[in-house]
Subunit: 763 residues, 2 copies
């Protein structure tokens, strides 16, 4: 496999034809359609790894509100596209991958022919607007390439991207009325007043710039664009949908609706008209910038100077090949589809957030220049600290360090002086709980991947963890737990803080900051304060130290937990499984508790309360579709029945990850679900990021090579695994039998090999 | 007088005490209160010459709308302050001087004590809000200094400025509840939705930054600030008045109303609390930037590093002294008050629009750096091309050239590719008519003040004048006039275009661009196409070449003119008085026409139709309070009765300019009214800017020295003038009797002297 990668890199360097045996194309196994049906919340469109542009179709314009009230269906459109929909509204340039709440959907482009319709219309009335029916038969979705036929116009829409530029290619029929619509009103999670201001300026007959300023999940956000057409439009126009016209100015002197160079307002749609021959292609380069219109123009010049669609597509797919080849597996086609689509989904977020010249808009709303690092945003920390960042620490440590740098400048620029909770477009949206950035920083430092000021990073962690005003931290510090009176998620937050505190302690230990180690290792034991030994569960505790009377360990609503019930969260002490086992009554009771979790029959009413998952996203009462239990299957490793870890992991893998549109059992959550798949199918998992240990499980691949960027490889040999042979008989690490159930980060990064010997019976 | 200036400059250089006979302090004659009552629309607050900050009290919060409808009283508050009002709402940082439409009023500060009131309350209910009663007895208004006692709190408010920083000094009584309110909702010409977005960030216990983004007369505008207190506040808070809260984010985790570091929304008020001792001063430095919050902080550091209020006040007053000394006059105290207040009002606008580091936000909404010039905004071209820019060409040619440079970058950045019509905060608001920037450019080029690319400037003029889509220019080019069907101001626009075209022709001639000269000198005769010889007036003409039936030469409403009636506008051909006289039937009829204009009795119903002037702003039917007739008194110079020019000018001067709050007969119009005063009281006037000729009148001073920045002086000796001795008996220029009625720009700029011999009878 080492040879294969070398051959691949060689081929990338010298072009096809030079190598004897080409590296396998891995992009072929990426299927972005996976997860687009139901709850995966992935999108089928085009992006390069960690790209600022995510160019993808929208199948509805569901607003956050419907007739003035919250629209309960809006969550379906977090990624803009739902596989079951029959129409496409257009193609917009920004998307989250796998989130359960949303924003973005900026700059919707739609090509049409015939009479101009500037409203999208509704899916149930074909022809009522610019939207078009489409069919999955006429759809191609690849890494960095999306193609679909729009039935309403027979236009073939194709799209690809570079990091900061979306590249559209529309093949038109013959028409004297060919239109490209740019809808600046459209957006994901839209509602009245979401658009704070929009602006559009026509520089010449083929270049347009502008911006959209929104108040949404990102509270104060402006995204700039520059748009270039391959063919001049012969006319253009706008329509404003503002409730009231601008006062004071005398813009009424002009006919601003047609062939006017600029327009500004809150709600604007625009169109650009062409006459096309049969089969004529109109291409659009659409560059983004978080800084300025000039920045967007410069990004376009820097990344796509010409008009070669195939080159841009291929360049982007080569980027993906390079990323995918970091782990080359052996396995069935289905396994490879699952694996490489997981790799793909794991490398979409976080996203690059700076111009080609290094400038970016900071959290302080000033423009900064990234000094010696690449700046990222889209940090969904509650999800990704668990396995995604640990994965990056193995396969892309430099990038992970840049992400840490981005978190540190976020901290510096944060008026609240906190590390990111959920960073969206250089804004903090405070979504979810804990302060898990500290774990990402600790994980990097503990694993020796800290080409940044590690002590400054620790200081940022300490400041964040001592932020008394944030979500009960003050009470937590004073009392060792968050009283139920103070927070609706007092139990899960206490548990999460305790874990994060342990990670801070590990980092402090590594940096010889003993006073900090002592402070935070003590705090890390706070999880015990939530445990009610009588009930056998973590449960809400009142300020007076007594447990709250009302309590249902199966419910996720108003029980003191976020996205999980007590049954699942009671197991949340990844930093101290042995302590947890003791707390919960010892090995036998603990194994029984774990078994029940996976095998119990959860009444439907409890399922209805959970968010962001499908019915398939749950096994018994084990909720894989949300994150708090992602370490749980591995906890058997601390009991006398580690084979149950192997069994459970191999049960979860095929049930939660299928190479089908509905293949994901819950939101992919910016790659965390995918990262779980990648680790688990390779045979190990970072139960406690912040330590350098991985817990072994049961590999589902037939072999793998991790190509490390230090030039070494870590090879995973798997003997005899199958859907039946899920039990590890023996593990041999670099020729020595592995006596325990753990491998270390150094074992991997130093290169070498591990061999799993598998069998159908547990040892 | 030359000696005096030298002494003054010496004293400025080496400090007081060194000179034998000090230059007269001229700032003492500046009375910013002049024009604050009724229609002057000036403001009494503090500013330095052409300063970006204009820190001045607001006496009302009149909105552009009242109960959802246009508020007919809003025009009174163009400058925020009306002398007759009894209460002050607060002190804001940006104001237009003398305009008839408005915007601005950014960042209102108000100090209070006692229970916190965050609403301004109403003037008729004292104590209903944070506003306070005040008395003119307790008010001091000087160039760059304003002081008032706030009766509600006994707080003494003082303010001064540097170019980009407002400096407040509040002397408090003893109080445990002392507040500084910063109202981000307040503004001049406010209405729902005017605030697009506001943001405020507390950096530490004495530093705050933020911005206000508005959609008003300037369509797309953001002004940033940085605010520094001399004493730490012990707590702070905000109140949001948004109709609906932000969606999506989870800011509700915090108590954002109190001691929180940041707030964002559309409608925000904030407060900062102190405990004060009797007589304790709290000072505030409040810096502005059109670029960023960092830019504002940097402006503060660059301009006012310390806390010495008196030094900032004195520095600014020394700037004023320097500017005022450019023309040192002899005359009565009243004359000096009128003259130096006019000088003061003439040097407020245009305003500097760039940061201390040269960065500014361009019309293209990108950030630029001014390369080798100072960037200005607030160009009210319809007003100021007449006399204000010609005045600058004499007393401050370098600054006028920078203003031209600013107009040229405006052109470069303009999506419509036009020179400024009315530039407000780096936006174009398209207010008023004509394309008079071309005249300012031509005037500078013709007068040899063109340290810029004059041919590029001419190209910008040509592009502007050929902009067929703008206000009937297409018809004007094709037909020689704008048909009444095409425009509500077809006649005045045709007349104004013809004048501007003549200016372009003069510029082209100077630059040897003969084809352009021919094109535009021909266009400059288009004024004749509007003249109906039968009626004896300029009047609306239909597309078929016939004059419109409905016509009332005394009315300003729907008669084809802007801010003027046909009686006045018929005289608008300053480029060709001789041609006009011929057109209107020769010398005798023309003199009769002029006489009637000044002596007729205009029925009240016609006065009621005029805008922006008081009843005093009109003499007969001559409307001095608006600009179109500013050259008219000088037209007698082309007849056989030039003494009537002298008579009329001396009649207008004392009637239209008095050193009292109600002393201005109409809007000062960013200094044009004042520039008329300055020229006319010195004895000459630029009837046709774009020529190098000045028409002589009747000096109302007893002598003057113009201190030119080329080191030369032009001395004006006036023998024997008085309110009776208004007739020029003889003029001697550099020892030679002046045979005609004109002096040239070179006569002035080369230095020398003119002596007016005055008498009580006309020659």
């Amino acid at each position: 496999m080492k040879y294969l990668l070398t051959a691949f890199l060689l081929s990338a360097a010298v072009g096809a034809g030079a190598q004897i045996r080409p590296a396998e194309n891995l992009v072929q196994y990426v299927n972005p359609i996976i997860g687009t049906q139901r709850m995966g919340h992935t999108y089928p469109g085009a992006t390069v790894p960690f790209g600022m542009v995510q160019l993808s179709p929208e199948t509805d314009t569901a607003g956050y509100e419907l007739n003035g009230k919250y629209n309960p269906d809006v969550y379906k459109y977090c990624a803009g596209y739902q596989y079951d929909d029959k129409t496409i509204v257009g193609f917009s340039h920004t998307h989250f991958s796998g989130t359960g709440h949303s924003d973005l959907g900026d700059f919707l482009i739609m090509p049409t022919i015939g009479a101009l319709k500037l409203n999208p219309g509704t899916a149930d009335k074909p022809g009522s607007g610019y939207r078009s029916a489409f069919s999955h038969q006429n759809e191609v979705s690849q890494a960095n390439y999306y193609k679909v036929k729009l039935d309403a116009s027979n236009i073939i829409a194709e799209m690809t991207t570079s990091t900061r530029v979306g590249f559209h290619q529309y093949t038109f029929p013959k028409s004297d009325q060919s239109h490209i619509i740019l809808d600046l009103m459209a957006g994901i999670y839209n509602y009245p007043d979401k658009n704070v201001w929009t602006y559009l300026k026509v520089l010449n007959d083929s270049t347009v710039v502008g911006y959209r300023q929104t108040n949404g999940w990102a509270r104060t956000r402006t995204l700039y664009f520059a748009m270039s057409f391959s063919k001049p439009f012969y006319q253009h126009g706008y329509k404003k949908y503002d409730k009231r016209e601008v006062y004071g100015g005398f813009w009424g002197k002009f006919n601003q609706t047609k062939n006017f160079p600029e327009i500004a307002g809150r709600q604007i749609r625009s169109y650009f008209d062409f006459k096309t021959e049969e089969g004529e292609k109109i291409k659009i380069k659409f560059a983004l910038s978080p800084v300025s219109m000039d920045g967007a123009l410069n990004n376009m010049r820097a990344e796509i100077p010409g008009w070669d669609f195939d080159k841009v597509k291929n360049d982007g797919q080569q980027q993906w090949e390079k990323e995918l080849h970091k782990i080359v597996i052996q396995g069935s086609k289905e396994t490879k589809e699952n694996f490489y689509t997981s790799m793909y989904h794991a490398m979409i977020n976080p996203t690059i957030y700076m111009d080609a010249d290094g400038q970016y808009k900071g959290l302080d709303q000033n423009v900064h220049k990234a000094d010696g690092f690449t700046n990222y945003t889209t940090f969904s920390m509650w999800d990704t600290y668990r396995a995604l960042h640990p994965l990056f620490n193995i396969i892309d440590p430099k990038r992970n360090a840049d992400m840490v740098q981005s978190m540190l400048v976020h901290f510096d620029q944060s008026p609240e002086k906190m590390l990111p909770i959920w960073s969206n477009s250089g804004n903090e949206n405070w979504c979810m709980s804990g302060y898990h950035s500290v774990t990402v920083l600790a994980d990097a430092v503990v694993k020796g991947n800290a080409p940044f000021d590690a002590n400054k990073a620790l200081d940022a962690c300490i400041a964040t963890a001592r932020h008394r005003d944030y979500e009960g931290i003050g009470s937590y510090i004073d009392m060792g737990y968050i009283p139920d009176e103070k927070s609706g998620v007092s139990v899960s937050s206490t548990l999460e803080y305790a874990f994060d505190d342990w990670a801070i302690a590990q980092m402090a230990k590594k940096l010889n900051r003993n006073d900090i180690y002592e402070e935070f290792i003590k705090r890390s034991q706070n999880y015990k304060n939530m445990y009610d030994a009588k009930a056998g569960f973590m449960r809400p505790k009142l300020a007076d130290g007594t447990f709250r009377q009302k309590f249902d360990p199966l419910s996720t609503i108003n029980e003191g937990f976020i996205e999980g019930n007590s049954w699942n969260y009671t197991l949340f002490a990844p930093q101290d499984p042995q302590g947890l086992i003791k707390l919960m009554g010892g090995n036998k009771r603990f194994v029984g508790y774990l078994d029940s979790l996976f095998t119990m029959n959860l009444p439907d009413k409890y399922f209805a309360e959970t968010e962001d998952i499908t019915r398939d996203g749950i096994i018994g009462n084990y909720v894989h579709g949300n994150e708090p239990s992602h370490h749980v299957a591995y906890l058997y490793n601390w009991t006398d029945k580690p084979w149950k870890t192997q069994e459970r992991v191999r049960m979860i893998l095929p049930r939660m990850y299928k190479p089908t549109p509905d293949g994901l059992g819950g939101n992919d959550d910016t790659g965390q679900m995918s990262a779980w798949y990648i680790f688990s199918s390779l045979g190990f998992y970072p139960v406690a990021p912040g330590s350098d240990q991985y817990s072994t499980g049961s590999p589902a691949v037939d072999g793998a090579v991790i190509n490390l960027d230090n030039g070494k490889t870590f090879k995973i040999n798997v003997k005899n695994q199958s859907l039946k042979n899920v039990y590890v008989q023996k593990m041999v690490l670099n020729g020595k039998i592995l006596s325990g159930l753990f491998i270390s980060h150094a074992d991997i990064m130093n290169g070498g090999e591990i061999t799993f010997y598998m069998g159908s019976k547990h040892k």
